[in-house]
Amino acid sequence: MNDRLPGFSTLAVHAGAQPDPTTGARVTPIYQTTSFVFNDADHAASLFGLQAFGNIYTRITNPTTAVLEERVAALEGGTAALAVASGHAAQVVVLQQLLMPGDEFIAARKLYGGSINQFTHAFKSFGWNVIWADPDDVGSFERAVTPHTKAIFIESIANPAGSITDIEAISAVARKAGLPLIVDNTLATPYLLRPIDHGADIVVHSLTKFLGGHGNSLGGIIVDAGTFDWSKNNKYPMLSEPRPEYHGIKIQETFGNFAFAIACRVLGLRDLGPALSPFNAFLILTGIETLPLRMQKHCENAKAVAEWLSAHPAVAAVSYAGLAGDKYNNLARKYAPRGAGAVFTFSLKGGYEAGVNLVSNLKLFSHLANVGDTRSLVIHPASTTHSQLDDAAKVKSGAAPDVVRLSIGIEDKEDLIADLEQALST
């Protein structure tokens, strides 16, 4: 009997990867190839008809990328996953399976600025309409549901302010309305928080951040929880209806509890095309092996820096859910007891000017537009990641003009604090 279940750190190292059957290579090889030979005509036809498991072309599957997919699926407790070229690509592919022109989806207002842009502007040209709701007010999600709503989208720990979303409460709204809940788990990673355990039906990530973890590769992934019944009321024809591009296969009927991941692969990635490079998959896989260790250090450092900042006379406010007394501290204790992540914001009494000065005076923190690197990072969201928003929307999304965002790395925390200290006093 296989009664023992492996722990998270074991899965982070092993899930999806086994020694190569022909060479014995222990580390997953980089299958840097566009295509794969068929055994014979019938094998080719079986693969194209989705009757057999196997590789055709790297835009659809790749053996290096497949290891990454299985590993993240295992870490999130999902049935299957699909890796794509970026976090943004993951969002497009997911919603393409769910929305037709004229449909709506509800999204939390506190999101990564790039996602707000994508939903507001790029998706408009597909006829997908975003309806914004307030993650701090569950009722606003309930009130936003209409007969055209097809999905709800939230971030578990929201960029930029590191606020925590009450996933279970929003999942209850989704369940009642018969909608799938999509959770962007980028800033938490499954080490800190597993959205599927709290009712998410689909999890997306920008692998670019903590999962890859080293600031060297873009990537995104979609995890299927295997929980949603796509065929219940004909609202999701990509999954429930015969697909003409596959001679009439019904995806959910054929693939059961990993149907959504397959739809994303064979209807989304295959036709839209944002495939991940196998080399990036390799780097991200290597990063994931140390995810638990890195996240512990990221969180320990972030808490120390946030505590130090909140006691500093030049600081007006620190927004970090890991701080006792923070507005989101109770939610952090419930959803992310191992740590509230390492991305947070603070504001300076000197306002916008002081923020700009701070950024230019820092010597260890890198001023750039990313989070979730081993290195500590700093940015002024209002003039960069969230610059397309008007002032009211900036404030609502947690990126007011006087706010500075930090992504705390895994350096020695004393050095990070010393760098902030010298920058605040110059």
Partner: protein, 194 residues
Amino acid sequence: MNHDSYSDDYIREILNGVKTIAMVGASPVNVRPSYFAFKYLAQRGYDMIPVNPGHVGKSLLGKPFVASLLEIGRPVDMIDIFRNSSNIMPALDEALKMTPLPKVIWMQLGARDDAAAAKAEAAGLKVVMNRCPKIEYGRLSSEISWMGVNSRTLSSKRAPIPTLGMRLSLNRMSVGGGETTASDRAAKNKSELT
């Protein structure tokens, strides 16, 4: 026996032990799930028999359809029932009239009938419910991992060299991997509703 979950060893032993499989409800339409599973299992060396009274006179991948289990005329190791939950019992009753008795009753993904399972077990048969043998074979051999599916197995051993091109072997040493409890729970809730 608890049918909410099965150990990998239980499923592996069944798939390794059976040689002849009769598929009740097999379809000759090449986009139906039963066709997919039939073809996949035939290619992995199982002696497959399609059972479907609506298609007698036709054949499926060279195997002639029979109208009922009682018309097979040779020993069958496993009955794979490709019918929904409400049609399991009649197929089981027919299986229990076979001589010799089959060793395994397998109910397809989505199908679960606890009364039928108890009856089969009382007659000494092994039972699997709400699983697909193709998916289970793919999972335990890790072939399904090529599609990014969570095989829920881990192994530090070199997998057996693929046979017949890209087919992986069931005889792979592995331990249990990550759970998919939310999905299992959703499936259980659904089967309790239907």
